[in-house]
């Protein structure tokens, strides 16, 4: 007897990445690796003050320094560059934009605000000449905390927004005031989502080549969205889009920090326009910390109303979201649309209300950072769930189960107006609890406490909104663009395939996963598919790689394009095989006459015949190529449940992360190895926020964490292995059922680790510690708890302070 073996399906297989050989051999070319004949080098002079008037700039000494080709200030850009536009104009929020000049005009609004630029023959000469520019400033009082900046009497940044409030946005659902009036229990917390620096390992930079004779610009740019760069660059410089080519070469990570166009990009282009030579600008890391966008920076005041038996009846909060000195490209949408609409998470909450104040502060502009709004929403909710559990004496898992949305396959209406696509939150929760043997873990925790060891367990659920998104919704919420994606699939005569996509992956591996989609749909080898991206002259328009949308939206465009190819190929096969199209079957790259498998044409045969076009059916065009523009009917909503186990040393306040388990559901996985890698990286970034990372400004607006020596990103020896599991709940509206995985880990892990640490500190009655949970902060919280008494272990058992 023989056993039929299913041929291994390439969709779902953890094959090695196609992009890796060039990355592993040093032959990949990132922006700073681009060299052109006659290349000049730009260096930018940045404000040392957080808030000041520019009284005078003297560039005369710099102009005559060795190798200097030009020195420019805002006065030189007049009439050439317009201000940088904000592209997310929230309706109904009294949004107040202000002129955001690439080079500061009359005032500077943050440390790092560009003031002048030097272009020289070498980068060293440009850097030297910066020191010869004299700027006279009149310093003004600065404000860095978003809540303080919104208070009366705070220093005002912009005349357009004298109260520093850039917008006030609200979301409501149900009767939240009634919920609080009738509540058995109300818990409250003030949460600071500290400001973070994204730290893509490649800093930002650009190489601009403007050719005066033709008026054409080629721009190599470290970006997540070259087509948006072309659009915005054209608006600001006046160079028509048809003469403007943007290339995102190899891009060394983004995490949201390469979405916005920052002043340096425009300044580099301007220099090339002025000098008629190619110009390169590459941030130093310190410059990156000042000039590339930051993330988070919320002050949140949250209250949750519930019944005594743990049913949540209302959630009410006010958020002050720091925007920095100017509104960055997509900034207003992040603490609002991507945050406030996700308030109720995976739970049924009958009434919610949130007020969000976007506030100008004398800091680097804030933008998307991995998760972008959703980690901040998940944190609020999951923190309050633990507070409620503590208040009514229930296990945190039981409180969550009392409020969890039951499984659904095809749509669930949410109180904020969204419609989740599919979800099985209980399934993910059950899986993670079973994996960690939750009850046994609680018993171990108790036994350890009896021995004076402080183990903490954190459990969090999350659901996120991604796959952005229907363009109609984008327009309705003020996003100044569409959010569809595109793909072209092109068969060459030899049967090899090029795929051209509008999205722009930069480490996520879509050159591999997209080849897997094509291979699976059309029966070609993965190695016969090359995915082309990141060049606006080569690829169709697309809105970019962020918000876990490349596969969720671009992958759908690709799947549809391959199906168009299949439809055409079938018609051609029917013609060539002289059989009615209804009698043609398809299987694994072959078209054959039903019941006569020997009478067949492979997809490669068809590609050849379509390209030579010797024998086409009447009316059929030559070639085998299809284009698809896919605008999703809804967002996708990945979800999951995570557990963290920590141990806190009460003598030092040091937190050891002992175990981290993630169960994520992103729908069917095209490449589970890549999915796992995304979860690892995402989880670790979220852990970084909980335990180590913070952009610290002093009260005068100086960035104290101004280099990698001061800002603590996770290192290899600070982490345990992450245990990664999954469940699979397909999206009902996506052609492949997939949802997106890029941000999931970060969205869940910050609150999971935080809750675990607070759980470990339960004997000390600690309810909140400001993030990051550094040893000093934890140590102080333990001592304050012990001093309050309340049954905490006496101080003298904890070691001397």
């Amino acid at each position: 007897m023989t056993v039929a073996v299913e041929p291994a399906r390439v969709f779902g297989s953890g094959i090695r990445r196609r992009e890796d050989p060039r990355l592993l051999t040093g032959t990949a070319r990132y922006t700073d690796d681009i060299v052109l004949p006659g290349l000049a080098h730009a260096a930018i002079l940045r404000s040392p003050h957080a808030h000041a008037l520019i009284m005078r700039i003297d560039t005369s000494r710099a102009r005559t320094a060795p190798g200097v080709l030009g020195v420019f200030t805002a006065a030189d850009t007049d009439g050439i560059l317009t201000p940088i536009p904000c592209c997310w104009l929230l309706p109904g929020s009294k949004l107040k934009t202000t002129p955001y000049h690439p080079l500061a005009k009359d005032a500077v609004q943050y440390v790092g605000d560009p003031v002048a630029v030097v272009v020289a023959e070498s980068p060293y000469q440009a850097q030297d000449a910066l020191e010869l520019i004299d700027v006279e400033y009149e310093p003004l009082p600065a404000v860095v905390d978003p809540q303080k900046a919104a208070q009366q009497g705070a220093p005002a940044l912009h005349a357009e927004a004298p109260d520093n409030v850039a917008f006030h946005w609200t979301v409501t659902g149900g009767d939240v005031d009634a919920a609080f009036k009738c509540a058995d229990v109300i818990v409250r917390e003030r949460i600071v989502q500290q400001r973070l620096i994204p730290n893509a390992m490649e800093t930002r930079g650009a190489v601009a080549q403007f050719v005066p004779a033709t008026g054409e610009l080629t721009l190599w740019n470290t970006t997540q969205n070259p087509h948006i760069v072309r659009f915005v660059m054209s608006l600001v410089t006046g160079i028509p889009e048809d003469r403007l080519r943007v290339i995102a070469p190899e891009v060394g990570g983004g995490f949201g920090s390469k979405i916005a166009q920052i002043p340096g990009d425009f300044i580099t282009v301007f220099c090339s326009m002025k000098l008629g030579r190619p110009v390169k600008w590459t941030e130093t890391r310190t410059e990156n910390y000042q000039s590339t966008t930051h993330g988070r920076d919320h002050v949140q005041e949250v209250e949750l109303a519930a019944t005594r038996d743990g049913r949540v009846t209302g959630l009410r909060c006010t958020v002050w979201a720091g925007m920095g000195g100017y509104l960055s490209t997509a900034a207003p949408g992040i603490p609002t649309i991507l945050h406030g609409l996700m308030l109720s998470g995976p739970y049924t909450i009958p009434a919610v209300k949130e007020d969000v104040y976007g506030v100008y502060t004398n800091t680097t502009p804030v933008e998307a950072y991995r998760g972008a709004g959703r980690p901040e929403a998940t944190f609020m909710l999951e923190r309050m769930m633990d507070r409620l559990a503590d208040e009514i004496g229930l296990d945190p898992v039981d409180v969550r189960r009392r409020n969890i949305i039951p499984p659904f396959q095809n749509g669930h209406d949410v109180i904020t107006g969204l419609k989740y696509d599919s979800g099985n939150y209980e399934g993910a929760l059950a899986k993670v609890l079973e994996h960690v043997s939750y009850d046994a873990l609680r018993a171990e925790q108790k036994a350890a406490r009896d021995k004076g060891r402080y183990i903490g367990i954190g459990v969090s659920l999350y659901v996120e909104i991604c796959g952005l998104g229907p363009s109609q919704v984008a327009g309705a919420v003020g996003f100044q663009g569409g959010l569809w994606e595109s793909a072209i699939v092109r068969f060459h005569p030899s049967g090899k395939v090029n795929v051209f996509i509008g999205a722009s992956p930069h480490g996520q591996g879509e050159e591999t996963t997209f080849a897997q989609i094509v291979a699976d749909e059309l029966g070609v080898a993965v190695t016969d598919v090359k995915v082309v991206h990141g060049d606006t002259d080569a690829t169709p328009m697309g809105w970019g790689t962020y918000g876990s949308r490349t596969t969720a939206v671009g992958g759908a465009a690709l799947a549809i394009a391959t199906r168009k190819i299949k439809d055409k190929a079938k018609l051609l096969a029917s013609h060539l095989l002289e059989a009615a199209v209804e009698d043609i079957d398809y299987s694994s790259g072959r078209f054959f006459v039903r019941g006569v498998p020997d009478r067949h044409k492979t997809i490669q045969d068809i590609a050849l015949m379509a390209n030579v076009a010797w024998n086409m059916p009447e009316g059929m065009e030559a070639g085998l190529e299809a284009t698809s523009f896919y605008d999703p009917p809804n967002f996708t909503y990945p979800f999951g449940a995570h557990v963290a186990v920590v141990e806190v040393d009460p003598e030092t306040g040091h937190v050891t992360l002992k175990r981290y388990v993630a169960v994520d559901d992103c729908g069917p996985q095209i490449n589970p190895v890549i999915v796992e890698g995304q979860v690892h990286g995402g989880v670790v970034q979220g852990i970084g926020q909980a335990l180590w990372e913070e952009a610290v400004y002093d009260d005068t607006g100086q960035l104290l964490t101004g280099s990698l020596a001061d800002y603590a990103i996770p290192r290899a020896d600070m982490l345990p292995d992450i245990e990664v599991l999954s469940t699979v709940t397909p999206s009902p509206h996506h052609p492949l059922g997939v949802k997106g995985i890029g941000e999931a880990g970060t969205i869940a892990s910050t609150c999971t680790v935080y809750n675990a640490v607070i759980d470990a500190l339960e004997p000390f009655k600690v309810q909140s510690v400001r993030m990051p949970l550094t040893p000093e902060r934890v140590w102080r919280a333990i001592r304050e708890g012990a001093e309050r008494g309340a049954g905490a272990p006496p101080l003298d058992t904890l070691g001397a302070p």
Binding site: R16, R17, E19, D20, P21, L23, L24, T25, G26, T27, A28, R29, Y30, D32, D33, V35, Y124, N199, A200, M201, E202, T203, E250, V251, G252, G253, F255, T282, T284, R285, T286, H506, G507, Q508, G509, V673, I674, E676, G677, H680, G681, G682, V683, V684, Q685, S707, L708, A709, I713, P714, R715, A716, D717, M718, L719, D721, I722
Partner: protein, 158 residues
Amino acid sequence: MKLPVTITINGRAYQREIEPRLLLVHFLRDMAGLTGTKIGCDTSQCGACTVLLDGVAMKSCTCLAAQADGASITTIEGLSADGQLAPIQEAFWAKHGLQCGFCTPGMVLATRALLETTPQPTPEQIRHALEGNMCRCTGYQNIVRSVQHAANMMGGRP
């Protein structure tokens, strides 16, 4: 003032006149045209510029090119021969030890130095040895797996 130096990179001697302040990493990238070595910071934290100097892993942003006069440097470009990946590169590929790839050249060379001295490292030894090389994409877990896999492929031989 210009200084004449001769630095051997991946077996080939590069004779150049340099500014005394020129960093070794800039010599590699700008004067020898070997851009595989990356620059990720300005404080010698990130390790993206890690190369081997006379067989020892070092951050090439911490060293003046003048100090490397007469030395022998191995960069990422010198690891594979005839289009064949070296075992460490194969291992990073097999275990998904990279995402955006920017830290990878430094990571691979730091691994090479580790396996020279510790041919069969434990996960803890790997994490400790690579704590000076930052990666923002992988969370390090698959890098640890890659190094273990490389050690196994190399059969404990440096």
